[in-house]
Subunit: 159 residues, 2 copies
Amino acid sequence: METPRIARPRTVGRPCSVASALALVGEKWALLAVREILLGNRRFDAIARNTGAPRDILTTRLRALEAAGILERRPYQDRPPRFEYHLTPPGRALQPVLQTLAAWGDRWVEAPPPVVFRHEDHALDAVLICRECGEEVAPGSVRPHRHAPGWSAAGPLAQ
Amino acid sequence: METPRIARPRTVGRPCSVASALALVGEKWALLAVREILLGNRRFDAIARNTGAPRDILTTRLRALEAAGILERRPYQDRPPRFEYHLTPPGRALQPVLQTLAAWGDRWVEAPPPVVFRHEDHALDAVLICRECGEEVAPGSVRPHRHAPGWSAAGPLAQ
């Protein structure tokens, strides 16, 4: 197993990979910036225009994503210095997160879907499955098996 | 196709189901509250303790999720009135979003995973696939095919 590439952020409450992921990317402008970079829009002005994020907040979010190792800045011009944003491997690995959010939004919020995706040469029909059995990870089919030390499903264990 | 159950939120920038989803659940306490309710923790005090969310912010988030139709409050006690939070069908449908975030956190941030999940009777190994071809939705294998009116991958089209 490869070593994780991202430093564990500080979180509160239940120790949980969802909480850690959200401590890094759990803010809408952060994920929408990743969306734009995945679409090939690597420059600040394009990311700001296409997300609609306030420029000062976007600057803060991009710096935090860079500090976490989710994206990197590469110079494309010297005078004045200008940078493009590129996703690192953990940054590119956020694509399934965005596709899962898009599938939820397409199903429950939007009709028709504002953006239609192709997967290779056909229409994308994204679904989360379990590689072990090949079945869909349906609501209610998953349960926690082992919790973090000191925790149960109900909460912190009495000391 | 069933009618979407959730009113489309106001968004800025590129029309996109990710942006709509994040307008509703794109804040870490909102998704962590959904996590706790999926774990069976339906009461405010347990949700506050297990997420670590500040109580005033959590109150606001839970009200917004209720107004959006992602969860509902049900009374469990009359005097004083007390409520439990239950997920609606769109709320339960957020489970794949949480599992995808957990898979990303397990892979890139945490080692070992703080929580281990079972899917039916075996260890969960969640992966996003395309139902059309059965292949994994790997980074780079997906591209937008049709954009919202007035938009391209690069941004808004000139009028």
